[in-house]
């Protein structure tokens, strides 16, 4: 009997200090060593290295002089970069909202006890399994004005039909948005559908008894419940936005002209083709800053705070 009262507080301390992790040992630390090395060398080291290079006048080969913000000044006077930055904003906004809206509609509609639900789900999600290169090539072929959609419509009785966005510098970026949504909407649907399936079915019963119309139910009751899934999907899509490169390469190669250039491509071109390492790393640093400033609040809310809040 006595021993229990003595042990209780000790157990408490153990739980608090050790949290979940129960074992302690050298082998565990050794096992983590490669990862620690990678984190140190690649994730921290290479990042700092890139930032350092952006303050140099490096061209074909790295130089370790110090030119201050000269590369950044040049960067923000560079048409190509400004177009890239503008494009990524346009793409980001349209792609994310497009995927969220289409994904939400698909998820909600699929949740209505429709026939062939499994088939539809498979159809909506399969593009996500394919690479951006495949996606880009397919859409380039479909949207090319000479033999694709435009010709199809003209041949089938709409002789005046014009859809030349792919070769129109003002509109080409939107074809990339379309291809992007085609690729990513299914993912959004899958995430939101998983959320929908977790909604208490009694809620819909209560809403029916209350005479709440279905659309209102989804908007006022379900959507707020899906907020975590919407956030997850948004973050996932947003990381895709920043990485946007393959799709552009496959679909337009940045053209016509420079109308569909994006920052990732700007960096790649300057690092590996145009031999302007200083400018390329400066652009990469800007990308880094953009990503960190967008994601930091979310990572903080999701992991740091949650971690602290756990037992």
């Amino acid at each position: 009997m006595n021993s229990i009262s003595i042990q209780a507080p000790r157990a408490g301390v153990l739980v608090r200090r050790g949290r979940r992790r129960v074992g302690r040992g050298l082998p565990a630390a050794l096992a983590l060593l490669p990862t620690a090395l990678v984190v140190l060398v690649v994730y921290v080291g290479c990042m700092l290295w890139t930032v350092r290079l952006s303050f140099t006048g490096s061209t074909l080969l790295p130089r370790y002089d110090w030119v201050g913000f000269a590369q950044y000044v040049r960067l923000f006077a560079n048409d190509r970069f400004l177009t890239s930055a503008g494009n990524i904003v346009i793409f980001g906004i349209l792609f994310i909202t497009g995927c969220l809206i289409l994904g939400f509609l698909l998820a909600v509609f699929i949740d209505q006890n429709v026939r062939g639900e499994g088939v539809l789900r498979t159809i909506f999600l399969y593009p996500y399994a394919m690479s951006f290169i495949v996606t880009g090539v397919a859409w380039q072929w479909f949207l090319n004005p000479g033999l694709g959609l435009q010709k199809l419509m003209r041949d089938t009785g709409f002789p005046g039909f014009t859809f030349d966005w792919l070769v129109n510098p003002d509109m080409a970026i939107y074809t990339i948005v379309i291809a992007g949504i085609w690729h990513g909407a299914g993912l959004t649907m899958a995430i939101l559908l998983a959320g929908l399936r977790g909604v208490d079915s009694d809620l819909w019963k209560a809403a029916r008894v209350d005479g709440v119309p279905a659309w209102r139910y989804y908007l006022s009751v379900v959507l707020p419940l899906l907020r975590p899934m919407v956030v997850t999907a948004t973050v996932l899509l947003a990381t895709g936005v920043v990485k946007l490169y393959d799709l552009v390469v496959a679909m337009t190669l940045g053209g016509p002209g420079i109308s569909t250039e994006v920052p990732a491509k700007f960096v790649m071109d300057h690092l590996f083709e145009r031999n302007n390492i200083g400018l390329g790393t400066a652009a990469a640093t800007i990308m880094l800053i953009a990503v960190v400033s967008i994601l930091a609040p979310w990572v903080y809310a999701r992991y740091v705070r949650e971690e602290g809040g756990r037992v």
């Binding site: 209560a206 029916r208 008894v209 005479g211 709440v212």
Partner: protein
């Protein structure tokens, strides 16, 4: 006047038929409890009455209207769910008024009803909170409040208390009973698998098993004259004692016989006098067994004694039969003591051994 009438209703989930020609009439102002083990179809029946589930045959009438094809909102019903089903991220006030707003009720009227219901349930101080800021008991009050503002004639409850702890459950049970009394003419249909809730709340209990109604009656009838072995065993704690035996004739009188034990059945009210020789099961509630020195069934020995405070349950056995006896908590008994049991034929139940039906 009947408030709810279920007429010859069948319900099927795809190929699976759950109900087949079920009928049930519920009077206005009545408190009816649907009681049965999990999976017996209580929720299914309730959902069909609410219109949340289509019947595949038959009709449902509410308040003199055939509502078989009506939407739930047009049936004049309100419903309370086990999981509360409160709209998250809406305040209590918004939760209670959402349905009324959908029906374009004038604002003043909405306010009046919400205030009144909140008053009745003592949740006025919670009106501006959100569901996740409420305790379980408070949530269920809000859910009841949301049902109240609908001004419905019929209230449907689907296990509203089973997510609450024992103490809250008792509190809210009393509250619901009080509410029913206050509302006067409101009809309530209440689903539970808790026999205490059923016994304490109901005017009438509908006992169900495997999608069949077993017995409909007042709590006293259900408890005193269970219509079959299932009802007899399901209701009552500790359980009714069952003894297998046969009917024997003694002249033109009938007696129950099991081994060396006999019980004359002169005082038993047979619904239909059976012929002697029939295999039967005798059921007797623990509190109807009189332990003493001079009972009709001698030769029992006390096995285990379970003191429960107000009363004591004594398990005794004669080698073949084990019988539970409930005696006063003040009575001193010890294991190993010999007992003979006194039985009153007027208080026992007899069931046919083959069909399980009451004789």
């Amino acid at each position: 006047m009947t408030a709810v009438s279920v007429r010859d209703v069948s319900i099927a989930f795809g190929m699976l038929r759950v109900f087949d020609g079920l009928s049930l009439d519920i009077e206005e102002g009545e408190f009816v409890v649907l009681l049965g083990p999990s999976g017996c179809g209580k929720s299914t029946l309730l959902n069909a009455i609410a219109g949340l589930l289509d019947v595949s045959a038959g009709q449902i009438w509410i308040d003199g209207r055939n509502v078989t094809w009506d939407e739930p909102k047009d049936r004049g019903i309100a419903m309370v769910f086990q999981s509360y089903a409160l709209y998250p991220r809406m305040s209590v006030r918004e939760n209670m008024s959402f349905g009324l707003r959908m029906a374009r009720t004038p604002k003043a009227e909405i306010d009046r009803r919400v205030t009144q219901a909140a008053d009745l349930l003592q949740i006025t101080h919670l009106l501006d909170r959100r569901p996740d800021q409420l305790s379980g008991g408070q949530r269920q009050r809000v859910a009841i409040g949301r049902a109240l503002v609908r001004d419905a004639g019929v209230f449907l409850f689907d296990e509203p208390l089973s997510n609450l702890d024992a103490k809250l459950r008792n509190e809210l049970r009393v509250e619901i009973k009080r509410l029913h009394a206050r509302l006067g003419k409101a009809t309530m249909i209440y689903v539970t698998h808790d026999q205490v809730e059923a016994m304490t709340l109901a005017d009438r209990i509908v006992v169900m098993k495997e999608q069949k109604v077993q017995q409909i009656g007042s709590p006293a009838e259900i408890y005193g004259r269970p219509s079959n072995l299932f009802v007899a065993g399901f209701i009552g704690s500790p359980q009714m004692n069952f003894v297998r035996g046969r009917l024997e004739a003694e002249g033109n009188r009938l007696a129950f016989a099991a081994g060396r034990h006999r019980l004359p059945l002169d005082a038993y009210a047979f619904s239909d006098r059976p012929e002697p020789g029939r295999e039967v099961v005798l059921g007797v509630r623990p509190e109807h067994v009189e332990p003493g020195a001079s009972g009709v069934w001698p030769g029992f020995t006390i096995d285990i004694v379970e003191p429960m405070g107000a009363d004591t349950v004594v398990w005794c056995s004669d080698g073949t039969e084990t019988i539970q006896v409930r005696t006063s908590g003040t009575r001193r008994v010890a294991p190993g003591e010999g007992l003979s049991l006194g039985l009153d034929a007027a208080q026992v139940s007899l069931f046919a051994a083959d069909t399980g039906e009451r004789l």
